[in-house]
């Protein structure tokens, strides 16, 4: 069985963690064996905690010279058989893009935590933003599929980091935890359960490491296990041999890398809905902004206003069917974001109704009253 029940590494119970600390504990719970990173505000406390806790667990922590080295190093660790992770913020995430593309092409399971801060570029290092939503999907060349998750609480920083490792190992793909400063530095009570479920990487002696497998995801050997293993980001056959002139091999590989994720999107995608049944206007939100939005929606419901909310927990692959169906039922959807309409643009691609984008990129979280005010105008 590839799914395994494990005992939690922390004694079960309540903790008062920051989002960064919770993500570090989630990684440890998910049996992360290797972390390489370069410190950057506002993600650094995650690395601090990993460095301290790995001394207790015996896992390997490396502070690298920069973000390029960090991500390349975790790709190597993953091929050596470890569950591997790094964390960064927008500027570092930009530097990692080339190697994320490499990890996608070589089908390397890795976890990247991106604690977003407001940009562009260095921007305001200590302030939250949501400017990396599209970078997570399209940050490097080539058609590429990744999985990206947006946690809205400290509990989810813990739970979804575990989930990120499981998805990475299950689909052999980089998984990005798209968080932000507001969640990373929020402290909340979280509950650590006694047992957690871990997905163990599939192995099959002699099976092609880049073949189609049962469902588009091949088993993955590690170096040193006796398999003839060639890993290249150039176009390759199912045994990893370079084929850089063959259109059929290119088409087959690129298509499989796309469909192994897209065809499984109903399994991967998670979302929540609140008061949607009879709603005329629905807020679509994610991350911290979904906390503000839910507060606003609950208040307006108390006044009898027909508003609802969808929270996207999974950002990529995008919940296209959900949005298409929702858009056919409601008059308007309202999309508040800490960027200039990055996900609103994606929602417009699928929603057959009015999509109203609300942007706030001043480095402040969006206040519930701001959302209430905007919604009242639309009702």
């Amino acid at each position: 069985m590839v799914l395994k029940e494990m005992k939690s590494t922390l004694p079960p119970g309540s903790y008062y963690f920051s989002g960064n600390e919770a993500a570090a504990e989630g990684a440890i719970a998910a049996q992360c064996g290797y972390y390489a990173g370069y410190p950057i505000t506002p993600s650094s406390e995650l690395m601090h905690r990993i460095a301290a806790r790995f001394r207790e667990t015996g896992a390997v922590f490396m502070q690298m010279e920069d973000e390029l080295a960090s991500i390349c190093s975790i790709i190597g660790a993953s091929w050596a058989g470890a569950r591997a992770m790094t964390a960064t913020s927008g500027p570092g995430f930009s530097l990692m893009q080339e190697a994320i593309s490499y990890a996608i092409m070589t089908e390397t399971p890795i976890v990247i935590v991106d604690i977003q801060r407001v940009g562009p570029s260095t921007g305001q290092a200590t302030r939250p933003g949501g400017g990396d939503m599209m970078q997570a999907k399209w940050g490097s060349h080539g058609d590429r599929e990744v999985i990206a998750i947006s946690p809205w609480s400290v509990q989810e920083m813990y739970d979804q980091t575990i989930n990120a490792f499981n998805l990475a190992e299950r689909y052999r793909v980089p998984v990005i935890l798209l968080s932000d400063e507001a969640i990373a530095h929020l402290r909340e009570r979280i509950e650590v359960r006694e047992r957690i479920t871990i997905f163990n990487r599939r192995k099959e002696k002699g099976a092609p490491p880049f073949g189609a497998g049962d469902d588009g995801v091949p088993p993955m050997p590690a170096f040193g296990e006796g398999e003839k293993l060639l890993v290249t980001a150039s176009t390759h056959t199912e045994y990893g041999l370079r084929k850089t002139n063959d259109p059929l091999v290119q088409a087959k590989l690129a298509s499989r890398l796309h469909y192994k994720i897209v065809n499984k999107r109903e399994e991967i995608i998670e979302y929540e809905h609140y008061h949607v049944e009879d709603a005329e206007v629905v807020v679509i939100a994610y991350g911290f902004t979904a906390r503000s939005s839910l507060f606003a929606v609950e208040r307006l419901r108390q006044e009898g206003k027909k508003v609802g909310m969808i929270r996207l927990k999974t950002i990529w692959p995008f919940a296209d069917r959900l949005i298409r169906n929702l858009g056919a039922k409601v008059k308007k959807v309202f999309v508040p974001e800490m960027n200039i309409g990055q996900m609103a643009g994606e929602i417009m691609k699928y929603a057959p109704c009015d999509v109203i984008s609300f942007s706030q990129t001043n480095g402040e979280v969006i206040h519930p009253y701001t959302i209430m005010e905007q919604l009242e105008r639309l009702l």
Binding site: S14, Y15, Y16, E181, H185, R187, R291, L294, F295, P368
Partner: protein, 179 residues
């Protein structure tokens, strides 16, 4: 709806506002409450405005920042001036460091002056622990967390070599006789 208390602690960087918030939040967890806490976060050094927010609730917390404080603890004039307008007008309580803060009259608002910095300086010969004194007094007045929960939170969050001093300060606050 269970009880929800929104607490804002504010003062100057270096007064231990963030630590006081973390300890209060931890005390809430010790009491089996739901807690959300957030603090000023920036490159500013000692002496600039500083804020720490804690929400303590019987139920899970939807929006995790303070919208309107039920309890405001102010340890500097600038922080008081900045946040005094954002206190719940009917049941809100303001606890301020006297005489560091001079108050303005606000209709119906209960404002209690405590010489926390003076107490720390005279009783413990160290005004650095004024934050623990005022936190102890605030807990004694408002009962937002239990005494035991607060003391155990101090033990968990203060480095070993300052533990005895901080415990003394918080207990001094908890047992302070109001005039």
């Amino acid at each position: 709806m269970g009880a929800v208390k929104q607490v804002r602690l504010c003062g100057l960087g270096g007064q231990g506002i963030v630590l006081a918030g973390t300890i209060l939040g931890h005390a809430g967890i010790n009491d089996r409450k739901w807690v959300a806490g957030s603090s000023s976060y920036g490159a500013e050094a000692r002496g600039s405005a500083c804020r720490s927010e804690v929400i303590i609730s019987d139920e899970p917390i939807s929006f995790p920042h303070v919208i309107e404080a039920d309890i405001l603890v102010a340890m500097s004039q600038s922080a008081y001036d900045k946040y005094i307008e954002n206190v719940e007008s009917e049941k809100g309580i303001v606890i301020y460091d006297d005489p560091l803060v001079s108050t303005k009259e606000i209709n119906g608002l209960k404002q209690i002056g405590i010489p926390a910095t003076n107490i720390a300086a005279t009783e413990l010969n160290n005004k650095q622990v004024a934050n623990m004194v005022i936190l102890g007094i605030a807990v004694e007045i408002t009962k937002i967390v239990t005494k035991g929960a607060l003391i155990s939170a101090v033990e968990k969050n203060v480095p070993e070599r300052f533990k005895a001093l901080n415990l003394k300060a918080v207990e001094l606050g908890l047992n302070w006789e109001m005039e």
